[in-house]
């Protein structure tokens, strides 16, 4: 069984992100959000890991209650989360208001690869398997 972290009515998961061109990793907590097509990480973290807009292959727009945020898409070599890893994973880098306590969003481009049995009341994942 896997336990999601519940905070402020949201569930968070740990994502392991690689530093650019280094055999080093850092962990960030992302909000599990099935309403987001893509996985988003605060540019403060991606900058720290050594990525920049020079690594981008597309510009992205995020439209939320606070207005439009412009960012960019990058491909990271490996993305690890919920005990699985996906190679050449696309993340959207956007400036997020870190005072809100959110470093990013785990979106559907990760979640769509898995079958999960989640108890949304308790945040417990009873089973998770990769869909091939």
């Amino acid at each position: 069984m896997f336990q999601l972290m519940g905070k402020g009515g949201l569930y968070f998961v740990e994502a392991i992100l690689p530093f650019k061109n280094q055999n080093k990793w850092d962990v960030a907590e992302l909000v599990l959000d099935t309403g987001s097509a893509l996985t988003v990480v605060d540019t403060t973290i991606t900058d720290f890991l050594g990525y920049s807009s020079r690594d981008a292959f597309k510009i992205s727009n995020l439209d939320g209650a606070a207005g439009r945020s412009k960012g960019y898409l990058i491909k990271i070599p490996i993305f690890r989360c919920l005990g699985f890893e996906i190679k050449d994973f696309v993340i959207a880098c956007h400036d997020m208001n870190s005072k809100l306590g959110v470093a990013g969003i785990l979106g559907m481009n990760f979640l769509k690869h898995f079958r999960m049995d989640i108890d949304w009341a308790t945040g417990e994942i009873y089973s998770i398997s990769k869909i091939f």
Partner: protein, 95 residues
């Protein structure tokens, strides 16, 4: 610089998650030497940098060349909105 980092790490005391929340309320912390409980949650760790803004924390880490294994927020999530709409501009960034 390396000596400075080593001394910073050896001086730093391992704190429990409860102690971190008390010492650094509503702040981002960068942790190393993380210990987890049976539930997989962070039980304790050594705080390398802390601040109310994540940018301040990463700047501190870069400036002092400190290691980091995890970023964590000690406060409550104040407000968060669902992202209503996604748009990806279909133009290469360098194009």
């Amino acid at each position: 610089m390396i000596l400075f980092c080593v001394s910073m790490q050896s001086m730093a005391r391992k704190l429990t998650w409860q102690e971190m929340k008390k010492k650094y309320p509503n702040q981002w912390v960068s942790l190393i030497n993380i210990e987890r409980g049976k539930d997989g949650m962070v039980k304790s760790g050594v705080v390398m940098a802390a601040g109310p803004d994540l940018k301040i924390v990463t700047q501190k880490l870069k400036k002092d060349n400190l290691p980091s294994e995890m970023f964590k927020y000690t406060g409550h999530i104040k407000y968060f909105w669902g992202f209503a709409k996604w748009g990806i501009t279909d133009v290469p960034i360098d194009g």
